[in-house]
């Protein structure tokens, strides 16, 4: 029980009370969702915050609302819950796979979608590229204010977000599209993927790609869209081999991150193969 005695955990019953507590706590406070990142602070030799505001019991953050034109996901929804809720909606295969195959079963039952987006230091988050390719938006809230921004924009500002802000929900527009998630752990499963390719395309009447979204995770410190590859896919029938070939020609725009277990070059080198797998999963 190696923790100083001065810490506190406030279990917020409502969003308002959570935002109040975060506001009052300032820099000394942080939201606590699934805890699967925060509780591992000791192995990273990081200090815990003096005050945590637990948001896991807030009903407003637990909803998954599936409408005709959008899906809204509360920030405290766990990976397991999300994967189960979207399992029947094939347009969300990418997100179902991201949420349903990350980490291990018990972690999926704890880790939240909001935590996945908000943890700046976690480069291998599965849901981030999946949501990027779905054009997701993020609603963030603080005491007295609320903002809805593109996920891409959120990713650029999340590390500098002032204390007191909280991811409240994620909004994913619905449209006719085919999606797939290709991830590459070093073992069969159970570790963080070395690289992730999330793919979403819509096809025209003759099977040509009308719109394409490709997002790449874990390769660089922050997941991002691969717009040059998207452009290369549009206007052609989706073909896994050709998509991989195009990816191989464009992969040099990525600067892989080096880590203890995976060298930088490897993360980039496997991208065309992951693109091929993702495209092949769409039946091409």
């Amino acid at each position: 029980m190696d923790t100083p005695a001065s810490r506190s955990v406030y279990v917020a019953p409502s969003l308002t009370s959570a935002l109040d507590a975060l506001d009052e706590g300032g820099a000394a406070a942080a939201p606590f969702a699934g805890g699967t990142w925060i509780m591992r602070a000791p192995i990273r030799h990081e200090l815990l915050k003096p005050r945590y505001v637990a948001i896991g019991s807030i009903p407003e953050l637990h909803g998954i609302k599936i409408d005709a034109d959008a899906v809204e996901i509360g920030a405290a929804v766990t990976h397991a819950t999300l994967a189960a809720a979207l399992a029947e909606l094939s347009e969300f295969n990418v997100l179902t796979a991201a949420a349903g195959r990350s980490a291990n079963p018990a972690i999926r039952g704890m880790a939240t979608i909001g935590g996945n987006l908000a943890t700046t230091a976690f480069a291998a988050a599965d849901c981030v590229p999946a949501l990027l390719c779905l054009d997701a938006e993020v609603e963030i809230a603080s005491r007295g204010s609320r903002e809805r921004i593109d996920l891409e924009q959120f990713l650029t500002m999340r590390s500098t977000l002032a204390p007191g802000w909280l991811v409240q929900r994620i909004i994913v527009p619905r449209q006719e599209r085919k999606t797939a998630h290709a991830r590459l752990p070093l073992r069969q499963a159970g570790d963080y993927p070395t690289a992730i390719v999330s793919l979403a395309v819509s096809l025209d009447d003759v099977g040509r790609v009308q719109t394409a979204r490709v997002a790449v995770g874990s390769v660089e410190p922050v997941a991002r869209r691969w717009e040059r590859l998207e452009d290369a896919l549009v206007g052609h029938p989706l073909n896994a081999a050709k998509a991989a070939h195009a990816a191989a020609g464009l992969a040099d725009e990525f600067t892989g991150r080096d880590s203890t277990d995976v060298p930088a070059w490897y993360r980039v080198r496997v991208l065309p193969g992951l693109v091929r797998r993702a495209a092949a999963a769409l039946g091409s």
Partner: protein, 152 residues
Amino acid sequence: MGLSLTVNGDHLTSTADPITPLVDVLREEFHLTGAKPVCREGFCGACMVLIDGNPTPSCLMPAALAEGCDIRTVEGLAVNGGLNPIQAALEACDAVQCGMCFPGMVVSLTHLLTTRPGATRDDIRAALTGNICRCTGYERIIEAALLALATT
């Protein structure tokens, strides 16, 4: 003040700091040493307990957040001191070696047995992604799970 926790049906009080990992409260305050803190990162599963019925690594769960939950540890799974079906199958298959991972294995597999009666060999392997065993090479554990599924 203190924390009120319900463990294996007993109402217990802890004086631990609220963010203390549940595994430490179970072991050091409640003397329930079945759950083992092995990796403290949620990878190994040796500290797995059921929180409201869901397998949860107790190293990642702050004690304060377990208040109001039904916590069931490996010590609470055996019925009247006997063995539950998965424990009995693991014993019958001579699966146990050093035994450190088994409290967590038993928790994960007890859950599997009750929630997924049709689980296949591959389902079992996937369900054990977060339960590491360093001794057995898993085969006997998978065999035992299949045996328990077939006989319950």
